[in-house]
Symmetry: C2
Subunit: 141 residues, 2 copies
Amino acid sequence: LSSREFLEMPITDFIISSEKVAHVQMGNNAEHALLVLTKTGYSSIPVLDAKYRLHGMLSMRMITEPILGMDHIEYERLTDIKVDEIMDKKVATLNIGDNFQRALDLVINHAFLCVIDDEGTFMGIMTRRVILKQLKKHIYQ
Amino acid sequence: LSSREFLEMPITDFIISSEKVAHVQMGNNAEHALLVLTKTGYSSIPVLDAKYRLHGMLSMRMITEPILGMDHIEYERLTDIKVDEIMDKKVATLNIGDNFQRALDLVINHAFLCVIDDEGTFMGIMTRRVILKQLKKHIYQ
Ligand SMILES: Nc1ncnc2c1ncn2[C@@H]1O[C@@H]2COP(=O)(O)O[C@H]3[C@@H](O)[C@H](n4cnc5c(N)ncnc54)O[C@@H]3COP(=O)(O)O[C@H]2[C@H]1O
Ligand SMILES: Nc1ncnc2c1ncn2[C@@H]1O[C@@H]2COP(=O)(O)O[C@H]3[C@@H](O)[C@H](n4cnc5c(N)ncnc54)O[C@@H]3COP(=O)(O)O[C@H]2[C@H]1O
């Protein structure tokens, strides 16, 4: 493949589909989110609603930062905090119809990208790992 | 640059040098590490000793996982846990004399790589972001 053909590849074959993506739901509290992040081992995951629409992204640090009190960490407050109060609402996204070039441009600054369709439904994620594997394959050919 | 020349580039120009790398020290406790990770915003950082030798890697999840008790999270134990008890001792490393190809092979599975010299002194890190920027530049040329 030429570099141009490589960059014009559709992203569809490379997406990690939604059923394989760990996430939390709108309305969950921060302690539940801490459990999900700890058990799945991911540092940052999408926040979805019951209709699989994308609302934001949540990392461990967004959970610990609001509870760093003056002289001790206020862990007891975690059950009172909702994920939508602390999540990052600006999520780097791709449309399901985008090509590899668009994904490459965005992963420079984001470890993963959320993929949505024209209705705004969450379809899955594109990760740096998948993109790096393809780049390595292309450069070694 | 041909792909071969690109892959043979030394990594030295692309390293984030040690003084810019957030880390924790051997002997620190897990609560101190939680503060460092929260304040710097990084999800995973190196563990060094006073002589800047590399001992392991520590993430938020390695801090929260050991304290998930049967019915509540045992935050009070964090000051009793030392970083060397919970860190990942297998760290993906590069030698300061390695080339880009070696870095590319390793970042498929690691968000960052620790760079050490022949004495085992920590010199800095190579990140996926830096590698992706160079790959993008190479493919667009
Ligand atoms: N259980 C596991 N098995 C094998 N390797 C693992 C792993 N967990 C993490 N890694 C490795 O560590 C990298 C960084 O993971 P992190 O959780 O910080 O950052 C992840 C996480 O925030 C998110 N992510 C990846 N897969 C996910 C999934 N199935 N569900 C939710 N989020 C996911 O995308 C980011 C980038 O992922 P990427 O694969 O490029 O890069 C991953 C992968 O190379
Ligand atoms: N303060 C900040 N400003 C701008 N962008 C930020 C940022 N913090 C994180 N990011 C973005 O998020 C990516 C994942 O960061 P993470 O902390 O999970 O994963 C990081 C972290 O574990 C480690 N890392 C990067 N820079 C570090 C530093 N100066 N000190 C210690 N560890 C560092 O290397 C991993 C990959 O870093 P990479 O740059 O490829 O990828 C970073 C970068 O694109």
